[in-house]
């Protein structure tokens, strides 16, 4: 029982990060029908910004409760700007071309960012540890049954899950209750009609990228604290979050959250319960789960079934 509960905590903590990244995929897809493959690298840039800020702040000896908000906000602003720039320079000029063109551009942007940050003058290929601003330590330990070790929840687990839920709620409020959110829903419904209704579609699309990138930045900061920072760190989480978005139903915000948590849980539980020699198949197994779910529900768990007009 201890094992199972601890694996749940481990899985949810990882899943929260997938969910945060998946939100960005899903929002952009909802509005532009574009799979933004550069999104995983925006997450990486968030981690890099966190690293640079943390080094500066550690030099100034600032306390955690000052440093953490600065790092999170700094990374969100930086990545928001990056997301805006990517959309403005790379996707906007191609918006009226076939969708495949944007998709390939997205892959190009992804490669560009990865290789740019591998340059020694910018960041370099060597992983770096964040200076220890936040000491990761257990905040909750719950004794379970006769097990010799309690179930442990660390402060970072709480931060990642808490931020993920808070961001999701904030985003839902924004989309459902604000005027800008209404415009966003209108654009995702039909771009040209929305523009006929007097909605500035360019602004809405830019904002989608800014929001999605800021969420990826939050995920990047969490993982920078939890793991290390390196220029290729966005590859695997990017793919997994994309899968999470598809799993939950791409275009659906609660779906992204559900998909992200599911991905994290499935992956961790498989690692925790498959025989040890199959540990390395847990990644593959997560994708098998995706295929199975899509066979039964092609539009994802919370996705709407749409009829493609011919």
């Amino acid at each position: 029982m201890h094992d199972f509960l601890q694996q749940l905590v481990n899985g949810l903590s990882v899943g929260a990060v997938y969910a945060l990244i998946a939100l960005g995929y899903t929002m952009v897809y909802g509005v532009l029908r574009l799979i933004n493959f550069a999104h995983g690298d925006v997450y990486m840039v968030g981690a890099v910004i966190a690293y640079e800020l943390a080094v500066k702040l550690a030099g100034l000896n600032s306390p955690v409760w000052v440093a953490l908000p600065i790092i999170f906000l700094g990374a969100m602003v930086g990545c928001g700007a990056l997301g805006f720039t990517i959309e403005y320079l790379c996707y906007r000029p191609l918006r009226h071309r076939p969708r495949l063109v944007s998709l390939i551009t997205a892959i190009g942007v992804s490669l560009l960012l990865e290789n740019l940050f591998q340059n020694r003058r910018i960041f370099g290929a060597t992983p770096r540890n964040l200076p220890e601003l936040l000491v990761i330590r257990p905040v909750l330990s719950i004794a379970v049954g006769a097990s010799h070790s309690p179930v442990i929840v660390t402060n970072l687990d709480l931060i990642s899950m808490g931020l993920c839920i808070a961001m999701m709620l904030g985003l839902s409020w924004f989309v459902l209750k604000t005027k800008m959110g209404l415009a966003l829903r209108a654009v995702s419904f039909r771009v040209d009609t929305a523009s006929l209704m007097g909605i500035n579609t360019n602004r809405v699309i830019s904002m989608t990228f800014v929001l999605g990138s800021a969420l990826a930045a939050v995920a990047g900061v969490v993982d920078a604290m939890r793991y290390q920072v390196d220029p290729l760190m966005g590859l695997i989480p990017g793919i997994k979050a994309f899968v999470a978005a598809v799993l939950g139903g791409i275009g659906s915000i609660p779906g992204a959250l559900l998909g992200g948590f599911l991905m994290g849980l499935v992956e961790t539980l498989l690692k925790g319960y498959l025989p040890a020699q199959y540990n390395n198949y847990s990644n593959a197994a997560a994708f098998v789960v995706l295929i199975l779910i899509l066979l039964v529900r092609p539009s994802g768990l919370l996705g709407k079934t749409t009829v493609e007009k011919v």
Partner: protein, 372 residues
């Protein structure tokens, strides 16, 4: 068509020009490949510093065979495929006499197969997997092998009275796989019990699932033969789960952030800065004077590998690759900084192992084991 013929001629002319230049080269070119960047950058950088020190020394002393030594260094970024292509580059482009490298066994195996094909002598400073030199005519090493390292680790665990040990190894590292195998052999033969075996992949970042599983088996200690980047993450995640038993491993630990989090942990290595032998202390002093830091194990093995290569070229009296190969194979009682080096029939050196223990946030020499 005519243009193509023209350009082909131009290219061929250029190429033959280059070749000629190399034939009459006025220096002795030695190639080095290593992970100067990437997840094992500490390995490559330490080795490079050691090799560069040896090159500077020999050039200050008048060079080899009356010619200066020129070192060409290639970064393989810690990538196996990249290792193959940079070794090819060193051989084809720079026409090197010999190759020095790698630290990680997987990459030494990859680069070694190129050297073997091309007939270029290669010395690995610190790859410990026995397969690196096995059945190879041109590949040598100046360090101990994992059968010795694994058994020393197991004997140390027995001595520490760790009876129930969990093994956590990387399934895509030739080093980790072999080292854990040798550890298990000796450990179980000596009456120890392996209570849990888990695997990860190099490049993984999340290990809590496996750690939780090991923790529930309640081992006395965890044997972790891996590389420092993963070890850093594994230790941090284990401690955050309240999994506080000692972890121990091999020379891949060198480079890890060893502080309060790794208190009580230990690992087997090539060298300790606390080693009182004059050759070691003298090396440390020279290294410090040049780089301003205490060398790691890769510094000293890199230094020794380069010097064995130079010694062989000197004894061969030429830069003919086969003559150099034969001279390396005949190396006997060479006074290396890390101890005397004799290359045996399997192309390995027999060297003592040191056991390092982290106490009070610092690495201390716990024991030195001589080879039998």
């Amino acid at each position: 068509m005519r243009w193509m013929a023209f350009w082909t001629t131009v290219v061929l002319l250029c190429l033959s020009g280059c070749k000629k230049q190399q034939g009459e080269s006025s220096d002795i070119v030695i190639g080095e490949y290593g992970s100067l960047s990437g997840t094992t950058a500490v390995f490559g950088q330490g080795t490079h510093n050691g090799i560069q020190l040896a090159v500077d020394e020999i050039n200050a002393a008048g060079g080899l065979l009356g010619k200066p030594v020129r070192l060409v260094t290639e970064d393989d970024e810690g990538n196996q495929d990249e290792a193959v292509s940079v070794v090819k580059k060193l051989i084809d482009r720079d026409n090197v006499v010999g190759v020095l490298g790698e630290v990680a066994s997987t990459r030494s195996l990859a680069g070694g197969s190129v050297c073997e094909q091309e007939g270029v002598p290669m010395i690995s400073p610190s790859s410990t997997n026995p397969d690196v030199t096995k059945d190879r005519k041109y590949v040598f090493r100046v360090c101990f092998t994992d059968d010795f390292q694994g058994s020393v680790g197991a004997q140390f665990a027995i001595k520490k009275n760790w009876k129930r040990v969990a093994v956590f190894s990387s399934s895509n590292s030739d080093y980790s796989k072999k080292l854990s195998m040798f550890f298990k052999q000796t450990f179980t033969a000596a009456g120890g019990q392996i209570v849990s075996e888990e695997t990860y992949s190099d490049g993984d970042k999340e290990f809590k699932a496996q750690l939780t599983r090991m923790q529930s088996k309640n081992p006395d200690a965890v044997y972790l033969p891996g590389y420092y980047t993963e070890i850093d993450l594994i230790l941090r995640q284990a401690r955050s789960l309240g999994f506080t038993v000692p972890f121990f491993g091999g020379d891949g630990w060198d480079g890890a952030t060893l502080d309060s989090i790794s208190e009580g942990c230990c690992f087997t290595n090539h060298y300790s800065p606390e080693d009182p032998r004059p050759s070691v202390q003298q090396f440390i002093a020279t290294y410090k004077a040049k780089y301003g830091a205490v060398p790691d194990a890769f510094g000293i093995t890199g230094y020794d590998a380069a010097r064995v290569m130079f010694d062989a070229i000197k004894r061969a009296g030429s830069t003919d690759r086969n003559a150099v190969r034969d001279a390396i194979a005949q190396t006997k009682d060479f006074p290396g900084a890390g101890g005397s080096i004799t290359i045996d029939e399997n192309h390995n050196a027999k060297k003592p192992i040191v056991i390092l223990e982290i106490r009070d946030g610092k690495t201390h020499l716990a024991d030195t084991i001589q080879p039998n």
